[in-house]
Subunit: 280 residues, 2 copies
């Protein structure tokens, strides 16, 4: 947590936009944004320029939230829709150009960290975050640190329906194949926003609840935070989700299940929290 | 890891026997044993006498591996078949009588710790242990510490077959309901030792592999250690288990799957490791 003499900067790299920000000292932040350049060298140059513009006193630490998959060992992000970034040593380049310590993690892990520190899961000793979006991502926070294990968690690829629908990952019956936007469209022929049959959302809740019950059995999180577009469904999703989770979770405490609280800012906040809290 | 001036003692409390031991300095240990007294006051007295007999120079730290369920906050073990131990403040009593620091965890967590430190899972940063016995127990070791979360893990109660057989826990299709000794007897009418149909062991392997794939998705352990009586099946179990785990585990590394290496000593070794490594 050594902050040195300079500012701490967060960088949120999405497929469409890059945001670079810092805390303003009043609980908010000042941030700049730009469209994500297709070429990583241009991207790094833009990040450096924005960071210097908002931290004229110098920069000590940088956190990056990036679309995965990441190569953690080499500090590279390989966003699926940005081939011009693949293989570019982003962490090393920013560390060199800014003369700062640079930390990077994927968007789901950074959102989990943000929700743990400042959002809906504040202060939980063990927190698991699921984002239900185009796919289903996960982030596991234990004692304030992102848990990666041997690679990185992919909680959306838990099998909750053996012999269920095929998943692009190669397995069957993963959460992602059943309840993600892509999975729902494949199964019901429409995007999730146009699915209004309550039976569909009851089923989404049931399978997500099996995933939560299994998460509780294996990790006993106090809190499970759900993010992604589906949280706009509100009680249509969270009502049956809590009911099924209570039914399926036995012998261990039923985790508190809450919608994510930080919305579009979770990437930038997560990047800041990463830089502020990551063990050196 | 402050060892103070005295010895470190391990205590393994099973439903039938209590063992008390210490390291002998040559990689083995010296231990005493007695039948588990039905009354906890007698049990504590026996433990204190055995500990003093093998550590005449005084005792600094004590680790206890106990049959669960445990009340961690109050230092109480409530073994199902020993009602005379329920409510007895074992940790506090041993701390007082021996003037030592006393740590207690359940048998599955202690076995996990033992396998991580000295057995089949040596040195893994993330290790998950499953014991397939009368029930199915689990232990999660992250960076050398037992992960409890909000209570304690119960990985045997992951749901791997929704609408599968009813489990005594109240849910359906838990690993325990399908592949434990109790589950197998309920489903096939015979104890596990008498089940020789390879199709049954293929099915046991398949459901355990779903549990391992889900464990990998959520935690990315380098190693999964399997303990309990079933490991005597050898390749009849581990062959299909590794094959199915490789089939079901996607996007994250397939963990190495190994049989437990410490056998009957895992409780006592785990108790010693607990006392040696538990953060104060």
């Amino acid at each position: 947590m050594e902050q040195g003499g300079g500012a701490t900067i967060g960088v949120d790299i999405g497929g469409t936009r890059i945001r670079v920000g810092r805390r303003d000292g009043d609980g908010g932040f000042v941030a700049e944004r730009t469209l994500t350049p297709p070429d990583a060298t241009d991207g790094a140059r833009a990040i450096v320029a924005m960071a210097r513009a908002i931290a004229t006193e110098g920069i000590a630490r940088v956190g990056i939230s990036a679309a995965g998959p990441l190569d953690f060992a080499r500090g590279i992000t390989n966003p699926l829709n940005l081939p011009g970034w693949h293989g570019f040593p982003l962490v090393g380049e920013l560390a060199r150009q800014l003369d700062a310590r640079v930390f990077m993690d994927n968007d789901a892990n950074c959102a989990a960290l943000a929700e743990w520190r400042e959002g809906a899961g504040r202060g939980a000793a063990t927190l698991v975050y699921y984002t239900i979006s185009t796919g289903v991502g996960s982030g596991v926070i234990i004692d304030g640190q992102v848990h990666h294990g041997s690679h990185d968690t992919e909680g959306g690829h838990q099998i909750v329906w053996p012999d269920g629908p095929a998943c692009p990952c190669g397995s069957r019956g993963c959460l992602e194949a059943i309840i993600s936007g892509t999975g729902l469209r494949a199964r019901f022929g429409k995007p999730a926003e146009e699915l209004d049959d309550p039976a569909i959302w009851e089923e989404v809740a049931k399978y997500m609840a099996i995933g939560i019950a299994n998460t509780a059995a294996l990790l006993c999180p106090e809190i499970v935070v759900i993010g992604g577009g589906v949280i706009a469904r509100g009680e249509q999703l969270f009502g049956p989700l809590r009911r099924y989770a209570a039914e399926f979770t036995r012998l261990v405490p039923v985790p508190t299940i809450v919608p994510a609280g930080l919305g579009q800012d979770s990437g930038l906040i997560g990047a800041l929290v990463l830089a502020e809290t990551q063990r050196d």
